[in-house]
Symmetry: C3
Subunit: 500 residues, 3 copies
Amino acid sequence: MQIRVFFAVWALVLIAGGSTVQGSEAPISDATAECLGCHEIFHPGIVEDWHSARHSVVTPGEAMTVEGLERKLSADEVPDNLREVAVGCAECHTLRPEAHADTFEHNGYDVHVVVSPDDCKTCHAVERKQYSENIMAHAYGNLARNTLYQDLQEKILGTPRYGEGAIHYEPSDARTRADACYYCHGTVVGVEGTETRSTDAGDLDFPVLSGWPNQGVGRINPDGSAGSCSACHTRHAFSIEMARKPHTCKECHVGPDVPAYKVYSASKHGNIYSAMREKWDFTPVPWTVGTDFTAPTCAVCHISLTVTPDGTVVNERSHRMTDRLGWRIFGLIYAHPEPKSPDTTVIRNADGLPLPTDFGGGTASAFLLNEEQMAAHRDTMQSTCRACHDTSWVQGHFQRLDNTIARSNESVKTATEILQKAWEQGWAEGPGKGSPFDEAVERKWMDAWLLYANNIRFVSAMAGGGDYGVFEDGRYHLAAAIAGLHDWMQTREFLKTPSP
Amino acid sequence: MQIRVFFAVWALVLIAGGSTVQGSEAPISDATAECLGCHEIFHPGIVEDWHSARHSVVTPGEAMTVEGLERKLSADEVPDNLREVAVGCAECHTLRPEAHADTFEHNGYDVHVVVSPDDCKTCHAVERKQYSENIMAHAYGNLARNTLYQDLQEKILGTPRYGEGAIHYEPSDARTRADACYYCHGTVVGVEGTETRSTDAGDLDFPVLSGWPNQGVGRINPDGSAGSCSACHTRHAFSIEMARKPHTCKECHVGPDVPAYKVYSASKHGNIYSAMREKWDFTPVPWTVGTDFTAPTCAVCHISLTVTPDGTVVNERSHRMTDRLGWRIFGLIYAHPEPKSPDTTVIRNADGLPLPTDFGGGTASAFLLNEEQMAAHRDTMQSTCRACHDTSWVQGHFQRLDNTIARSNESVKTATEILQKAWEQGWAEGPGKGSPFDEAVERKWMDAWLLYANNIRFVSAMAGGGDYGVFEDGRYHLAAAIAGLHDWMQTREFLKTPSP
Amino acid sequence: MQIRVFFAVWALVLIAGGSTVQGSEAPISDATAECLGCHEIFHPGIVEDWHSARHSVVTPGEAMTVEGLERKLSADEVPDNLREVAVGCAECHTLRPEAHADTFEHNGYDVHVVVSPDDCKTCHAVERKQYSENIMAHAYGNLARNTLYQDLQEKILGTPRYGEGAIHYEPSDARTRADACYYCHGTVVGVEGTETRSTDAGDLDFPVLSGWPNQGVGRINPDGSAGSCSACHTRHAFSIEMARKPHTCKECHVGPDVPAYKVYSASKHGNIYSAMREKWDFTPVPWTVGTDFTAPTCAVCHISLTVTPDGTVVNERSHRMTDRLGWRIFGLIYAHPEPKSPDTTVIRNADGLPLPTDFGGGTASAFLLNEEQMAAHRDTMQSTCRACHDTSWVQGHFQRLDNTIARSNESVKTATEILQKAWEQGWAEGPGKGSPFDEAVERKWMDAWLLYANNIRFVSAMAGGGDYGVFEDGRYHLAAAIAGLHDWMQTREFLKTPSP
């Protein structure tokens, strides 16, 4: 009934006013008009998407007149030629042509394929700066320039060959890497040359790109910048609604190593989102607790500018997500305080390795947040919690998280002690002799921390539920993995001392 | 923009016409007005949620005038002071102050933090009584007071330590238990003392609660009652829409041990829900098959009052979910008839253990439904099936379920026989010598029944699909687990008889 | 645009007084009126569903007047008696009574229970013909008449028994098969006899069906036809909206062997669908890229007739899904070109086995698409990609897919070489000595290709994301499975050569 009334009223408005759902479009530059002339035929999906976007409706000049929390354009100034036209094809794809190695001549324009954060910062300067300090912007280098992570990567992505009773791993190729780890971490997008293609508009030259397509959060762009705004703000609608919904985060946070989406969707918060989302409003800036939404999505807790119904700020917007995080719950090998620098390759642990913790559980504390900093980050996060939960609730929740981090670290330490004994006995080849990531017993140990301990912590952090945290890649499996390690050791022990 | 227009128009209608979707709010008691005065500033999320709730719109007095199937308030009488005001903060949180150990003086009111089923029964007497006879209300004690389950729990939640070639398990701590099993089963919420907090409203005293927060279905409340209505009827909207959608059940039924949500979402019924839910109406009482919804959710089959379009009752509402269930498909170790009593600690099997079945597959039949009772429960369930499916369809479905229960029990028996041989050979320490749940081979055996056989039965019960029941924690994995047990035995056997 | 018009019209109908959502119903035949008289009381769910269907609103005669791409009825002619009435109960369930073995006398009518594709082709002739050439229509025979697949099936579905130190498998029963593999592949629906049931309408005779209920894609119907349109076009709304949403495909494509739905929902495309679907229109024929939808669902890529906003065809509708596929990415044991014939039992590999590849990775190329045919199918698929993506994007994507298919095949080959050595050593019994699918080491090998390699390829094919393809049943697990195989070999090797 209620739904019927709602649609009836909506439709009447549409019939009466004739004003489009999205509102009238902004003036379009000549260059963009020329782009649209062909591309609405050749790539209608992109073009229609853009027509649904704010970029097609509001000029930067109009956006700059917005004051206060409602303001979305964060640059102090916008170049004159961009100010009074829609943010169309040409506005982004011909910006700073000299900076982009992928710029090519295209029907009289200097067009580049890959729009980068340094293009976006023309209007979104604050967000771009914050994001550059976000660990995600460094996701490429943090993986590609860490020798230990590279070893881990190659024991997963390399092609295994069997010969002379042993497995060895051929190095992974670039396409495999782009299809796997660097899909999320970001590829290096490079220009390999130029090719001529026969198109419906005649023969045209285009750059040949390597590492393309890619929308990884730490993508290295042809202009040298790092990151990809479109990882979350999907082209070409760049919908804030989409970025605020958890499905966006799921693209890279879905597996048991970082199971954020799956845990969320099993939590009370995720339940409320799944059941009630049609009644929420995902577009207002600022975003109001209780009226626009009644439970947090990923963005509410980690990024968005949120206010109370009377306009008081609950949390400032930040694209530097560690602002609200004290613990890093899925790092190698143990959970640990968030790193100070988003470039984690600078970290050295007690063994001189580029890791935030060592095998024994010690932390590379000089490179990590101290307790005071952790408390400040946690307090920022808790501002959001307190908009709906009383203090005892919030305290109780975070005490459990701290406890679960400590306990899961202890379980991982037990797993590590067993593995270290295997290395001592010569039953596997550990640091100094071989990769710690390739043999079967080492992979069982990896399951313990990379899959199960991570899961347990995510479930605890997000109040994701007992059943998930126990039986879905959780405590049940962590305990079994440790028992499995011990069983493997016993078999090796027995092999040395056969029964009579 | 588009959504804003819609909400703007919607709001206009609400303001202007009074033909509000939710209706105008009911009179608010002075006490509740005083609560709202502060808490709409401090906890706007909760307050806004309540404003969206029926509790803010309809007084108990109005609710009592509703006759017939539409009636939601099931108490015969409601106290005079509650009758003509909205069900607000004070109405629930100051009810029966003497009964609640967590009652504290708060700005002149005796407030308790944890609203319990015995508070809710003031208006919802029938539902509270049914729920007290529901096995879920006993979820705390059924786990915490069963010695065998406690052993299982500690082999999962306890902290494993490695020393002298063996794993031993340190007892779990209370926070781990609350973060894991008892998140769903329910904690004991206790009062540990009082603390003074500096708040924006000055220094105030609050009780310090243990086991808090928690919304487990069997929570032991500070008033001694068992259960938490808010497990499913999420605070503070208490939306029937949310309780009727499957995401609520997912919070505790998502892992491979009780994969109800995942199986549902892979089933034809779940497909219809996922694809068509925007067209359904989740709020009417009673709930009409075919017009309000076109496929069952969890609530339709297990709880809700459903009628045909001409108003004939399909199934009576019941919060005692076993009313519609004959088999218990995820009990230890074999599927078995539903227990007679919701308190399963009273059960004793042939070995004197508090389990509904014994290792050999025999059932503790004196404590379980007999065939006639099972048939009656099944027939109640089938009333719902028959609203859409003909008799041969329904019969065929349930014959397959019975068959799958029998076959999966047989597979589990084979797994158990292998383990029993391992115990006989002294290759693992079973009952009488050690825990049956701690060694690797025992954990493989647990996988067989606790994960895979359970999955297979849920898939069969919910027509959840061949692919899910075979390859997603299903038959493929059960067969592999049994082959794995046998392989482990062979290795142990070989170790005793090395090749020359 | 379409969404707007649709809602506007809908609302007008609602406002104007027409109480039906769907518009006025078409004339109903006397026979159907008689059916409805009883069944709206006995099976209101089905009847209400039908009232919401196009079948209740548009007569075949009206449907035949539609010209061009909008036309849904594809038969050249429709029998006179069906032309001017709604497609109601009797129109389908009394069609071709002599052809259906399940036809029975029912209140003066010759009614059959199972409506088959050969009934549906009365109006939907083109779709029925295409579907008969679709591999899915052959899903029953392709499994049931392939000796090797039958061996695999029985090592999963058979009841394992333990005795004399070995596991043997009792043959599966028909109900287990129907509850498992044939739930999706389709059962043989047969007539076993007749039974009399006491109903509210008196004693009535009904056929007793075996293999019922079932909606598998390759169901063998009592009229001898193969397939079940209702597998995707769910009774009795037969909603095109539902068939176009991915939840329908999920019913059979959810497990790690064919994880299409799960990969989709973790992909950028799935993210857009999940976040924005409420704004899309799933009903128009043809279906317009960019305005009706902004990202593909399963149907967009594999089946639907899609057009650009100016009406140019992007892809023709086809119910023969291989039209757009070059590779078959989940076949036994290696990915390979799609088979030429939908009946895969005709295939013979180099070893004479009915498989598209052999153990060494060679393909039964005479039975599979050649390179030119693969290229044509791929080009058809790419037409859809190019509606939103430029050529370099599309090329880059497909180059990665080819590479991932090659690499995953190589990894599987390594796994196979290890197993073959186990067979040579006599540590397991392979082809010629025993089933290749029953022992633990063989099951580990099956994990490598049947679960993990398949996952990796699906992720690559659907741009399903790095995290999913690495850690969620992906590359991490494939590498671990191979290390696990090698570890098993080492243990067996050590057993032969115990340490002193």
